[in-house]
């Protein structure tokens, strides 16, 4: 046997085996210095988001940042530290429930009949059994969980209205030319919208109180995220813009 197989054959076998498999191994070699191929661009953001108002947006961002960190954050901290979690959760649930009309309309305008029906069912259960929405008994029904929060911006996108330029809105934060009117309309449809003509009435004081509570409830969720993005960013404005646009495009795609 030994005489039949020449050592040079072994060498050839080893070399060919190594060559065969090494080609497989190094085919997916990730060279840090090479230009990214199409596949390497897999998770790249190829879309060029329009920001012709960048200089103004950056100024508004600076104002907002001051407002969020110096005014909203301390107030929200007082709210979080002096209000029991169960009460804060009840507030949050109450305000989420109140936004039912906009979710229903947005689903209906996109012909999402099943989602519109589920939203109505959820609203009905939480408003009655859940006592004005402060509790969420609808959570017990798995089919009512995970309904995407639809808004009018998504409706406009589904109608083919382009995104338009990015806009940093004072106090409200990031938006686009398409999302901004959607937010204004949503505010009008809101059950607890402030009617400026009735500011001197007792009811309007309650409305103002509810609006304040709503802002506090929202900030409890949003501010920690904002601060976290801000802390780990080289350019917080660009980070915020990119995060907002990525999130919106995913919400619209769903």
């Amino acid at each position: 046997m030994k005489t039949l197989i020449n050592h040079s054959h072994y060498k050839k076998f080893i070399l060919s085996t190594m060559l065969l498999f090494s080609s497989g191994i190094f085919a997916d070699n990730f060279n840090l210095d090479y230009e990214f191929s199409e596949e390497e661009n897999w998770s790249d953001d190829t879309a060029v988001n329009s920001d012709p108002l960048e200089s103004i947006n950056r100024l508004v961002y600076q104002f907002n940042d001051f407002f969020y960190i110096r005014i909203f954050d301390p107030i929200t901290n007082v709210y979080v530290n002096h209000t029991p979690k169960s009460v804060r959760n009840s507030f949050k649930n109450f305000f989420v429930n109140l936004k039912y009309p906009i979710r229903f309309i947005s689903n209906a305008f996109q012909a999402k009949i099943k989602e519109s029906y589920y939203e109505s069912l959820k609203f009905g259960i939480n408003s009655t059994v859940g006592i004005l929405g402060i509790n969420t008994p609808s959570d017990k029904f798995s089919f009512l969980n995970g309904i995407p929060d639809e808004d009018l911006g998504q409706v406009f996108a589904s109608w083919g209205i382009p995104e338009g330029p990015f806009i940093m809105v004072p106090i409200l934060g990031p938006s686009t030319l398409r999302d901004l009117p959607a937010r204004i309309i949503a505010r009008e449809i809101n059950f607890i919208d402030v009617n400026s003509d009735n500011w001197d009435t007792v009811e309007s004081e309650w409305i103002a109180l509810l609006n304040t509570a709503e802002i506090l409830s929202m900030n409890e969720e949003i501010l920690p995220r904002y601060k976290s993005v801000r802390k780990a960013s080289i350019d917080p404005y660009t980070a915020l813009r990119s995060a907002y646009l990525q999130q919106r495009s995913q919400e619209i795609a769903k």
Binding site: H7, Y10, K11, F13, I14, T17, M18, L20, F21, S22, G24, I25, F26, D28, N29, F30, L32, D33, E35, F36, E39, E40, W42, S43, D44, D45, Q62, D65, F66, I69, R70, K227, S228, V229, R230, K231, A232, S233, I234, D235, P236, T238, A239, R241, S242, A243, Q246, Q247, Q250, E251
Partner: protein, 198 residues
């Protein structure tokens, strides 16, 4: 005879590399995530350092960092590259750990791995931080026969895209020296979340 043994060894070594590629990447990810959380919620003095050391053993973190820089890599002076990669690694980890921190140790739920192609996969996970669900998707790539993290998408926001956009903006008016300075400031200023850009 030795040559024959060697040839078999070489054959099995190469084969094992290819077989490794067929292993579900979520298995390693599950173990790594669990261990990262254990370190994060331990009483260790320097959790960040420990996590970086542990993660660096499990994954080649340079890949995700290099991806955040994209074509800006070419704008970085040779002498600054290693330092910048190290600093960004710390910063990205800071963002990642910040997202994972809660009052109590979060629970992680892993969904089935989605294979985009033979060399690309996504592992969707749901992180329950203080009972709040956060959707986190790991994008992985097969690099040199091993699954490596290419991107982490937290609530539809990609770490790679978000940082790359910032680097694109940064390098329009700044140099790599400025970036080193900026990153060092970001990582050392403990009161940064209270400082204002005004």
């Amino acid at each position: 005879m030795n040559i024959l043994k060697l040839s078999f060894l070489a054959f099995f070594f190469c084969l094992s590399n290819n077989l490794f590629a067929t292993i579900d990447p979520s298995i390693q990810l599950k173990e790594t995530s669990e261990n990262v959380l254990n370190i994060l919620y331990s009483n260790s003095q320097d959790t960040e350092k420990e996590i970086i050391e542990y993660l660096s053993k499990e994954y080649n973190l340079d890949i995700i960092i290099r991806r955040t820089l994209g074509r800006n890599w070419n704008k970085i002076e040779e002498g600054h590259r290693a330092k910048i990669v190290k600093l960004i690694k710390q910063l990205v980890l800071l963002a990642y750990l910040d997202g994972m921190s809660g009052k109590s140790k979060p629970e992680i739920e892993f969904s089935n791995t989605r294979y985009i192609s033979a060399k690309r996969a996504e592992v969707p996970t749901t992180l329950y931080i203080d009972n709040k669900p956060i959707v986190l998707v790991y994008r992985l790539g097969l690099v040199q026969g091993k699954w490596e993290i290419l991107d982490i998408v937290i609530e539809n926001i990609s770490i790679v895209i978000t940082y790359r956009k910032q680097f694109d903006a940064f390098f329009t008016n700044n140099s790599s020296k400025d970036l080193v300075k900026k990153l060092e400031t970001l990582l050392t200023d403990e009161n940064l979340d209270q400082s204002l850009p005004l």
